[in-house]
């Protein structure tokens, strides 16, 4: 009996731990659970601003998760759910703002930066190549001058 006790204790406590970790939401379909996870990771908590509502313990995040769950159960699409929450809390809660006229610069900035960087690199490469080809090609006149200078310096060393 006493041997069994620690095992029993372990089983009991692990059950408690499991209950805490396991999701309190129950889904009929696996894809609904995936949608729930994606949506809650995509939504930003308005209170604790650098967390998504999946990670946040703030009461408002709990409310938002409940709403997402309720709407998924009600058959709403992902976009409908995002829009419904955005209507209440503002664009702030979207980690990925919609692509529209006002946000196009925001979305295009990485591409612009890469393109700009490419232009700079290309410019540097072209310039250095041009510089290098000029440097190797001495005119006949320059060669004569160079040889003269070299000869003079050799003379200086020997004296």
């Amino acid at each position: 009996m006493f041997r069994l006790f620690p095992t029993l204790l372990f089983v009991l406590f692990s059950a408690v731990a499991m209950a805490e970790v396991a999701d309190v939401y129950e889904f009929d379909a696996a894809n609904e659970e995936t949608r729930f996870q994606n949506l809650t990771e995509e939504l930003r908590c308005p209170k604790c601003q650098n967390q998504n509502i999946a990670d946040s313990d703030a009461p408002i995040s709990q409310d938002m998760r409940d709403e997402v769950y309720r709407m998924i159960q009600g058959g709403a699409s992902d976009e409908q759910i995002m829009d419904a929450l955005e209507a209440r809390f503002g664009e702030f809660i979207r980690y990925k703002p919609k692509v529209e006229k006002r946000t196009i610069l925001l979305w295009a900035t990485p591409a612009i930066a890469v393109f700009g960087g490419f232009l700079i690199v290309a410019g540097v490469v072209i310039r250095s190549r041009r510089g290098a080809s000029q440097a190797t090609a001495l005119t006949a006149e320059e060669k004569v001058r160079a040889e003269k200078i070299l000869a003079e310096s050799n003379q200086d060393k020997s004296t």
Partner: protein, 178 residues
């Protein structure tokens, strides 16, 4: 052209400076309400003082009013309570309370002890109206115009400075251009 390129870093630094300077002094935790310019969401809740009295969005129409979200669990609400009393008594501001995620008995004790600055208090124990209003942290105060349209939302404590500099101009504008 080469000369111009030399000044490019200075130019970049200047532009960055202007952009970043615009952000100084802005509190990122204070978000603008998504409901500005929209009607107060429909609701059907009870009065804090009397569970038999039903309240709905009609309560927030007819004149420019403040809608103050509070709860006894919220220390900052306690902090601003004296200023709300001052606004209601000295300035004659009509304030509607939204008792948010609270216990009715606790809330009544609070108003009994500290005074009741509210024309009426909506009892929202589950925070449903709060959720529809986009409340993410009490205290929050909404300026609602006579047509029941949200004009402004202040996140945080109200005091004399906030009243003079922020709320009063919005209220005056709402009264003039109702």
């Amino acid at each position: 052209m080469k000369r111009f390129l030399l000044f490019l870093p200075v130019l970049v630094a200047l532009i960055l400076g202007v952009v970043l300077f615009a952000g100084i002094g802005k509190d990122p935790t204070k978000l603008e309400s998504a409901l500005i310019g929209k009607q107060v969401p429909a609701f059907n809740l009870t009065d804090l003082h009397d569970p038999d009295v039903k309240l709905d969005q009609a309560l927030l129409k007819g004149k420019v009013q403040l809608l103050n979200v509070w709860g006894t669990w919220c220390p900052s609400c306690r902090d601003e309570h004296g200023d709300l009393m001052w606004l209601a008594r000295e300035k004659g501001v009509s304030i509607i309370g939204l008792n948010y995620k609270d216990d009715r008995a606790d809330a009544l004790v609070w108003l009994d002890r500290l005074g009741d600055p509210y024309q009426a208090t909506i009892y929202d124990p589950k925070g449903t109206l709060g959720f529809d209003l986009g409340v993410y942290g009490a205290p929050e105060t909404f300026v609602i115009d006579a047509r029941g349209v949200v004009r402004y939302r202040h996140v945080g404590v109200i005091n004399e400075k906030v009243w003079e500099e922020t709320l009063l101009p919005v209220i005056n504008d709402a009264r003039e251009n109702g």
